[in-house]
């Protein structure tokens, strides 16, 4: 009994010690000769079905930070070394708020993330409450920047901008449009915008169906859609679902055009759907990598280090640069001091010129449509939203 008590108290003491360490802010951990280590957070799903896209974001941030560190930045007269603290949010809203708090406790001065809108939105409140600037490389849901948080920015065209273009394009492809979404903040938000824009452009929306982001069998909803003979099937969701949808549309003998957003425009979609990917059209905000001002250069650097670009790594890379750029202009790594500068950003990134409006959205975001031809995403056209 006594020994149990002893063990318990030792455990408690250790626990207290650990939590005390956790409390310690490492924000300006000064080393020798006044060098400072500054932590920047990165959060995306690093496990689960979207792990490949999450890791891609992580790699984009790491590439940028490695380059910045190699250039030996000096802020406020002190040499600064940036450190990436990467956390797995599992694309889950609850986990996202937990990892957001964990990163803040560890003393990050800003965060690049999250990947999914569903995770980005709840986490954005945590960052806002703690006054930690957040730049999402890929969250496109309108709500993210619509909550009035001063700390929320994104370097990605939002769903309203993308949905308008996709809906108008769907109406151009055919009179009858069917819509499927994966019930995530991203998929549902995009699908809703597409529905509105398609109707506005004179198309008839014959079906609106829902699935989820873990499903692999869509034959039931596709059969029901087939009965309504649409010309276009729009899917708001990610590639692990888009690929079997493409496959099952062919299995069911459907001839409608498959159209999707940026979650579907990945190499993985083509790999998974193989021959059935042929002819699918999807959009991606921004310019194609080979049309980005510094795209070729980025591609070469990224692929030498991490292999094929999955999706958003150029945006994650730009987001990290934009954040450090604001710190340099503010001459401070203190969130309170560099946050105002972040709003005034005017940065020539890999993905194009980045500047923010009052909400933290991109002021101009081109959208490019791609089509799978001969097993490759090939550029169809770039559209500027009005």
């Amino acid at each position: 009994m006594k020994s149990t008590l002893l063990a318990l108290s030792v455990a408690m003491a250790v626990g207290l010690g650990v939590s005390a360490c956790g409390e310690k802010k490492t924000e300006a951990a000064a080393g020798e000769n006044g060098a400072v280590t500054v932590k920047i957070g990165q959060s995306s799903p690093l496990t689960g079905p979207q792990a490949h896209i999450g890791k891609d974001n992580d790699n984009g941030v790491r590439l940028a930070i490695d380059e910045i560190n190699a250039s030996k930045p000096v802020i406020d007269g002190k040499p600064v070394t940036f450190e990436v603290m990467s956390e797995d949010d599992q694309a889950d809203p609850k986990t996202a708020t937990i990892v957001a708090q964990r990163m803040i406790d560890e003393g990050i001065v800003g965060v690049i993330g999250h990947l999914n809108s569903g995770a980005t939105i709840p986490a954005s409140k945590v960052y806002s409450d703690n006054n930690i600037p957040q730049i999402s490389p890929s969250a496109t849901a309108i709500k993210y920047t619509d909550q009035g948080f001063k700390t929320a920015f994104r370097v990605m065209t939002n769903d309203a901008q993308q949905g308008k273009v996709l809906g108008a394009y769907a109406a151009k492809l055919g009179k009858k449009v069917a819509i499927i979404d994966d019930q995530t903040a991203y998929g549902q938000g995009l699908a809703a915008e597409v529905e509105k824009a398609a109707k506005a452009a004179g198309a008839e929306v014959v079906a609106v169906e829902h699935t989820n982001d873990k499903a692999s069998d869509f034959t039931a909803i596709l059969t029901s859609i087939k009965g309504k003979a649409p010309d276009v099937v729009f899917f708001g969701g990610m590639d692990p679902q888009a690929a079997p949808i493409a496959k099952q549309m062919h299995q069911l003998g459907m001839t409608a055009q498959l159209l999707g957003g940026d979650g579907m425009q990945t190499p993985k979609f083509i790999e998974l759907a193989a021959a059935d990917a042929e002819g699918a059209i999807a959009s991606i905000p921004g310019l194609p990598i080979d049309k980005m001002p510094k795209g070729a250069d980025f591609k070469q650097k990224f692929e030498a280090k991490y292999g094929q670009i999955q999706l958003y790594s150029p945006y994650a890379y730009d987001a990290a640069y934009v954040m450090v750029d604001a710190m340099k202009r503010a001459n401070s790594t203190d969130p309170a001091k560099y946050l105002p500068e972040l709003g005034k950003t005017s940065f020539e990134g890999v993905t194009g010129k980045i500047s923010f409006d009052a909400k933290g959205d991109l002021t101009s975001g081109p959208i490019t449509l791609y089509k799978v031809q001969a097993g490759q995403w090939t550029t169809l056209e770039t559209i500027l939203p009005q």
Binding site: A207, D217, L272
Partner: protein, 310 residues
């Protein structure tokens, strides 16, 4: 009408996979009254192992007929999963055979998490593509419904396997030993049945079925993923309970029924409720039926064996 026929085909294909996995749950439950929650992961392992072999073989000898390559993958996956099933029983369940019933349930869940993570470490977090070009891609019209060669193969294979399994349990020596062990393990042992061996055999048979189901799933959907076993296992478990867990025919019926209910539910719920409820209620529909059946007939549709064992 052709839409209805198509939904029926969709449901039957989906349901046969559920049924095949459900058989594994029911076999083990029938004998041990244990829910082997790692069974869904065994299915996933079967799919992953087969894909690894198929990928490697395709790389070395792309000229081999596709069907042979897939068959080779299956022939490696089946014994590998049998070994896995055997090991799971040895490591996670046998030491706990006389422990309170909650203990093996927890090791079962633990085993499932371990297998998921092992698969993630070996094959990564990405979805893996099944080279569908290896298999015939023909599509046929049956009563206005479209069905592919792969789906026909799934249906035929499932029916064959079920028939084989029923024969095994009812007509062979091993089957008799299995039935005896299920009724009263202690008495069976007194009669000279090697209970441990029978239980191992049950796990091994269930794992072999899981491997086949895993390959079917990835061939049909064109992809595999370390997480795929979770939902599949859950649905198959529900199918087994729906049909009456412990009952072989019940697992088959439950699986097929669940598949058909899901397909019809998702396909028609929007039209039937005037758009009030949408296809997002696909899963709810299936589980609603499950709850209903369990409320009215707790032992499941075909379950009659009242379980009362000291």
């Amino acid at each position: 009408m052709d839409i209805f026929a198509q939904q029926l085909v969709n449901g039957l294909v989906l349901g046969s996979v559920y049924a095949l996995v459900a058989l594994g749950y029911t076999l083990v439950y029938g004998i041990l009254e244990l829910i082997n929650f790692a069974h869904g992961e065994t299915t996933m392992m079967g799919s992953m192992i087969a894909l690894a072999v198929i990928g490697a073989l395709f790389g070395v000898a792309p000229d081999l007929p596709g069907i042979l390559i897939v068959l080779a993958g299956l022939l490696v996956a089946i014994p590998a999963c049998m070994l896995l099933g055997y090991s799971i029983e040895r490591v996670a369940y046998r030491p706990l055979r006389h422990a309170p019933r909650l203990a093996p349930l927890i090791t079962a869940i633990g085993m499932s998490i371990v297998l998921q993570n092992v698969a993630m470490l070996i094959w990564g977090k990405q979805y893996i593509a099944f080279p569908t070009t290896l298999l015939p891609q023909g599509r046929h019209d049956v009563f206005g419904a479209s069905i592919t060669d792969v789906q026909i193969a799934i249906l035929v294979l499932t029916v064959t396997i079920m028939a084989g399994l029923v024969t095994l349990v009812n007509r062979t020596r091993l089957g008799r030993a299995m039935r005896a062990t299920a009724q009263a393990p202690a008495v069976a042992q007194l009669m000279g049945v090697n209970v441990n061996r029978v239980i191992s055999a049950t796990f091994v048979i269930g794992a072999a079925l899981a491997a086949i189901a895993g390959v079917m799933v990835s061939a049909n959907y064109g992809q595999a993923h370390y997480y795929m076993g979770f939902l599949l296992g859950l649905k198959a478990f529900s199918a087994a309970v729906l049909g009456g867990i412990g009952n072989l025919a019940g697992a088959m019926l439950g699986g097929l029924l669940l598949g058909v209910i899901e397909a019809l539910g998702a396909g028609y719920i929007g039209d039937l409720t005037g758009g009030f409820l949408g296809s997002n209620y696909q899963d709810i529909f299936a589980f609603l039926v499950l709850i209903l059946v369990l409320t009215l007939k707790p032992s499941g549709l075909l379950g009659s064996r009242s379980v009362e064992r000291a």
